[in-house]
Amino acid sequence: MSIDFSKEVDYVARLARLKLKPEEKEIMAGQLSDILDTARKVQEIDTTGVEPTSHVIDLPTVLRDDETGSSLTLSRVLQNAPRRQQDYFKVPSITAKDNGINAGEEA
């Protein structure tokens, strides 16, 4: 396969907030091509009438009762926070222009 995947690599890198060097991009493009080739091979299998698998374990969902338990202490919660202010995690502004394409999305 000699399809140029550099655009796809740029796109995925941007989604994943990865900064890649040109030589890394080249390696990734090659790997992406190999992965897609393998996927193409899998797609050749005839799956007519086969239910799509979303989970390999065939068990019923486990449900728990709606009861509250203990949470972590504040010091444990904030233990890994890169920056904190009072009892909050402190993060860079989310509306900065260079935040990339997914910036500013909210649930």
Binding site: L15, L63, D66, T68, S70, S71, Q86, Y88, V91, S93
Partner: protein, 480 residues
């Protein structure tokens, strides 16, 4: 504006009323100290695993059924991937192509007519954390602070079809939706605490056209009223752009409550690549038909049905039936009272008017009151034992002290003074003390008569009947 048809679809997010979060046992209580209701699961720490909260599933199914949505026996959870600091895992557990419930509809009253608003889907997901912005708004703050107490609270997403035609209709829909969700007990629907939130997609198309126009997404509408204002504003804005030959760019905007306008937040282009994939940490959600049937059987009477029943059974106006539906406690009080009193409209008027006013004044709830006492009061009034002003006074007393109106009448000597025998001496006294007023009345001034009536009402502390006094005063003056 009339050249265009407005097309609106709403996306409603609703926190379900559970004690613990969707996947862990951290408390969902609102207003706690920041970052104190957090654990490895809701913080997304490596190695932690989610376990479904049964109650969240029950409430989600309850809400879906109340909205006529078809609950799926099998649904699946997916990861919605995006980077945003309110999302500790950098993905949100949500549902994508196999939602909990599909379709559904709501009947709303829009102006004079009834309209059906269809739903696309109802699905369950996890709530994100809360960002506290430094400075006053999301725009232009240098950094943000994050509180993850909210992260992981069960969140229901309800998506409507693009069936809504105006800001007014969007508001009517939301008000009805809120009623239904409150009735079903799925959520407390407090917009001010963020447990109910609404985003809207709005576009315009030429009247009669089938093709949807380019849409804008409007966010940050913090009340039903701001939904109405924001959508009407955005519709006008788009109409102006289109009329001038311009085109609408697909974008997300924020409703600025102060400036009363929508402000573009960012370009929407390219932002929809959430790379959904099945959540490997959760098994597909499989519901037994009996589980769904049981919930369906235990649904309470829903607002639309109740509204209609109140209207028909008691011959109430549409507005009254609607009020007794929105204010469920007041409506329940009416129905209890109506078991012993069949002048329904009179009863409704007293409840909606004076009683509701007194409840507000005293800070009491309709549940605190004994319906029998109100009936006692209305019967005293109907039988002419007391007059209207006294009845109002007694109602105030009754609400505040909980005493029976009959007892109060006796205690305070508030029984009506009526009959020629009792009133004539009073009338004669007032006539002789106010010759000017009598003269004015004889000259044809009706105000003079009202003045005389007022004098006697004051003398009797409001216990006489003004109409009866009118009659007797006229008689006595013309007999002179």
């Amino acid at each position: 504006m009339n050249k265009y048809e407005v097309v609106i679809g709403l996306e409603i997010h609703l926190e379900l009323k559970t004690r613990s979060k969707l996947f862990c046992s951290c408390s969902t209580t609102f207003g706690q100290e920041p970052n104190t209701n957090c654990c490895p699961v809701c913080l997304g720490l490596p190695g932690s695993l989610p376990v479904f909260n049964r109650r969240a599933i029950e409430l989600a199914v309850t809400a879906a059924l109340a909205l006529n949505s078809k609950v799926q026996l099998r649904s699946r959870f997916d990861r919605k991937n995006y980077f945003y600091p309110d999302l500790p895992k950098a993905y949100q557990v949500s549902q994508y192509d196999q939602p909990l419930a599909r379709g559904g509809f709501m009947e709303i009253e829009s102006g004079e007519s009834e309209r059906i608003i269809n739903l696309e889907r109802v699905h369950l997901e996890e709530e994100a954390g809360k960002l506290v912005h430094a400075g006053n708004s999301i725009m232009g703050s240098a950094y943000s602070l994050v509180d993850y107490n909210r992260a992981g609270i069960p969140l229901l997403e309800i998506v409507t079809a693009p069936d809504i035609k105006s800001g007014q209709e969007a508001r009517a829909f939301l008000e009805d939706l809120r009623s239904i969700l409150l009735y079903s007990g799925a959520s407390d629907c407090k917009m001010e605490e963020g447990s109910l939130r609404c985003d809207a997609n709005i576009s315009l198309r030429p009247q009669g056209s089938e093709k949807l126009g380019t849409k804008a997404e409007v966010k940050n509408m913090n009340s039903f009223r701001s939904v109405e204002l924001a959508l009407n504003y955005e519709a006008e804005r788009q109409a102006e752009v289109l009329s001038a030959g311009g085109t609408i760019t697909q974008e997300t905007c924020h409703w600025d409550e102060e400036a009363k306008k929508t402000i573009p937040l960012r370009s929407k282009e390219g932002s929809s690549d959430y790379r959904y994939f099945p959540e490997p940490d959760l098994l597909p959600l499989v519901l037994e038909p009996a589980f769904i049937d049981n919930i369906y059987a235990s649904l309470p009477e829903l607002p639309a049905v109740r509204r209609k029943r109140l209207k028909e059974k008691y011959d109430l106006s549409a507005a009254t039936a609607a009020q007794f539906t929105v204010n469920r406690a007041l409506g329940d009080f009416f129905e209890t009272a109506a078991q012993d009193y069949d002048r329904y409209n009179n009863l409704a008027n007293w409840i909606q008017g004076d009683l509701q006013y007194q409840l507000r004044e005293s800070g009491k709830e309709a549940d605190d009151l004994d319906a029998k006492k109100l009936i006692e009061l209305l019967e005293l009034l109907d039988q002419g034992e007391i007059n209207r002003p006294v009845a109002k006074e007694l109602l105030t007393e009754m609400v505040n002290s909980g005493k029976s109106p009959k007892k109060l009448v006796k205690e305070k000597g508030l029984g009506r003074i009526s009959g020629d025998e009792k009133l004539r001496p009073l009338v004669d006294q007032v006539i002789s003390e106010n010759p000017d007023a009598v003269e004015n009345y004889l000259k044809g001034k009706d105000k003079a008569l009202a003045f005389l009536v007022g004098k006697i009402m004051a003398m009797t502390k409001g216990r006489a009947d003004p109409a009866e006094l009118n009659k007797i005063i006229k008689e006595r003056i013309s007999n002179k």
